[in-house]
């Protein structure tokens, strides 16, 4: 399903066939562990590009190679037309990075830190304007170690934006965000996209990708699995026409084996809540009704909904054999 398109002229970032080994790992008798085996992607200006995958799929490693924080083992990367491994101050000034853990010194106060980061640029954005835009003023006098996760993320985002970068990397931007911060951060990401920035975000949250991304790359076990716009991915996932999912609530612990057949799964997502998904056919609704009658149950609720990106993701993850641990000697 993976197809790599030729580099677009408006691509801010082009990664082709990225390979990254780490190690040597003592537990593997000193061999290298391959954590990215083949990831390719492009990020265009004026678009939000999401790199979506489970934890440990290789997302952070991929963008750290793109930022020049890690040296790649193989493949090629073009960041604003340059090789990130040879990044100089001029290239770094054009690239904004928000790390997964923030990378903020705990003893610093937000505005003091932002003024310091601004001093590393010759023409930074106004610290005051960013502080106002991200609502940092309300906790500007508090040391970073005392801030909530959402407040820290806002400071880290402001720090990544001070140079008015052309490309912005956001590693799990909504991790630990309260609803208010999340709204603020999402609005800002859309504003940056509308200002023509290339935005690359990694996330394991399908909802984030669905709400923000113009283009999505799904990675699994260190490989690109598929790519497309959100609507494309939704239509691509099911060979059959129905992209539907049934959720229902009934007594916990029911035997749902009779509902499961080729391509249709049923799981109890939490006690008493069930989710019937996969390649649902109209006949599956009849089968569901028959199952209820056979079990003698009247569900407390039944809901038929469109498939979400999560279904696509689960289907892709399920269809792929987990890759054997790829190792090679140095």
């Amino acid at each position: 399903m993976t197809q790599t398109s030729p580099p677009a002229p408006d691509a801010a970032l082009v990664i082709s066939g990225l390979v990254k080994d780490v190690g040597p790992i003592a537990a593997l008798d000193g061999r290298m562990k391959r954590i990215v085996s083949n990831i390719s992607l492009q990020a265009r200006f004026g678009e939000v590009t999401a790199l979506l995958g489970a934890n440990g799929a290789g997302k952070t490693t991929t963008i750290e190679c793109a930022q020049g924080l890690q040296n790649r083992t193989g493949g090629s990367i073009s960041l604003l037309g340059r090789d990130p491994d040879d990044a100089d101050a001029t290239l770094r000034a054009r690239v904004g990075v928000m790390l997964q853990d923030g990378g903020l010194p705990p003893a610093a106060r937000p505005v003091t830190l932002l003024r310091h980061v601004a001093s590393l640029y010759s023409n930074p954005l106004s610290v005051d304007a960013l502080v106002a835009r991200l609502g940092i003023g309300e906790f500007s006098g508090t040391t970073i170690r005392r801030l909530s996760g959402g407040q820290k993320q806002r400071v880290a985002l402001a720090a990544s934006l001070l140079g008015n970068p052309e490309i912005l990397f956001l590693d799990e931007p909504s991790a630990g965000l309260d609803p208010q911060s999340r709204l603020m951060v999402f609005e800002l990401i859309r504003e940056l996209r509308d200002a023509g920035k290339a935005i690359v975000l990694t996330t394991h949250l399908l909802d984030d990708a669905q709400r923000l991304a113009d283009y999505v790359y799904i990675v699994n076990h260190g490989e690109s699995v598929t790519e497309g716009t959100v609507p494309e991915l939704l239509s691509q996932s099911t060979a059959s026409q129905s992209h539907r999912v049934v959720t229902f609530e009934a007594a916990p612990g029911l035997d749902t084996a009779a509902l499961v057949h080729d391509g249709v799964r049923c799981e109890e997502t939490r006690p008493g809540s069930y989710r019937l998904g996969g390649a649902l056919e109209p006949a599956d609704l009849g089968r569901f009704g028959g199952w209820c009658a056979g079990q003698g149950i009247m569900p407390t609720s039944v809901h038929l909904a469109s498939q979400s990106l999560e279904d696509v993701f689960l289907a892709i993850a399920a269809s792929k054999e987990p890759l054997a641990l790829k190792t090679e000697t140095r």
Binding site: D88, R92, G96, L99, G102, A107, N123, L161, E166, D194
Partner: protein
């Protein structure tokens, strides 16, 4: 507000000098705001100086107590700031991802290290002024030639201990850095020949201590400020530690 990003010019780095000086000033301010660091950098050396000046430990060594004590205490300042203080700060910066974040800004990895060296030198200058002033009140009168020799030797000592501090901070967990650099400070301060000449204890001990960076810096500072000369053996030892420490730090320092 919607034009915050659209109309602004794209990012350009500040000049190299400005980036490095800004980082140095920021790190020095962070160091001087930290209470524990101030105790280590100012209070402990001052207590050591006063203790050596009022007790007879250094008697019978051919010079006044304060004249023998002050060069060693100045060397101790370099150990406190460059090795222990800077090592601990870098270890925790590494843990919190601060090193990674700053290396993605125009500052970069080299600028980050240069900023740390500047911060160490600023803090050391402040320590030297305070210790020298107190020592002068206690009767310390160094020769001009001794001072002229002592300053570059102290800077060399600071560079050596910075490299060793970075080596530890960049290779082990921050808690281990905290333990190693604090324990190292206590052991080297007490027995490492930095404050008390090793010959004071025994010949065997002196034979070991002379090969340590602490012993070499202590010997160099005392030879410079008491006799106005450079101790050749000690400077060879100190330079060897500086070179070996720097190579090891460059080779093994991990940013994450």
């Amino acid at each position: 507000m919607s034009t915050l990003f659209r109309d602004a010019p794209a990012g350009l780095p500040a000049s190299l000098a400005r980036r490095v000086l800004s980082q140095g000033r920021y790190e020095a301010a962070a160091m001087l705001r930290n209470g524990e660091q101030l105790v280590l950098m100012i209070v402990m050396p001052l207590l050591g100086l006063i203790a050596l000046a009022v007790t007879p430990i250094l008697d019978g060594m051919g010079n006044s107590r304060i004249n023998i004590a002050t060069p060693g205490i100045l060397a101790l300042c370099a150990l406190s700031t460059a090795f222990t203080g800077q090592g601990i700060a870098t270890g925790f910066d590494r843990r919190y991802g601060v090193l990674r974040f700053l290396s993605t800004t125009p500052l970069g990895k080299a600028g980050l290290i240069a900023g740390k060296v500047i911060a160490v030198l600023v803090a050391l200058a402040i320590q030297v002024v305070i210790i020298s002033t107190v020592a002068a009140f206690l009767g310390w009168r160094p020769s001009a030639a001794g001072v002229a020799l002592g300053i570059p030797l102290l800077v060399l000592g600071a560079a050596t201990f910075t490299a060793l501090g970075l080596l530890i901070a960049g290779t082990v967990r921050p808690e281990a850095t905290l333990a190693i650099t604090n324990l190292g400070w206590i052991l080297l301060a007490a027995l490492g020949g930095i404050v008390l000449p090793a010959a004071k204890f025994s010949a065997t001990m002196a034979g070991i201590v002379d090969w340590l960076p602490s012993g070499a810096l202590g010997t160099l500072m005392r030879a410079a400020l008491l006799q106005g000369r450079v101790d050749v053996f000690a400077i060879v030892i100190l330079l060897a530690w500086a070179v070996a420490g720097s190579i090891a730090a460059i080779k093994w320092f991990k940013w994450t």
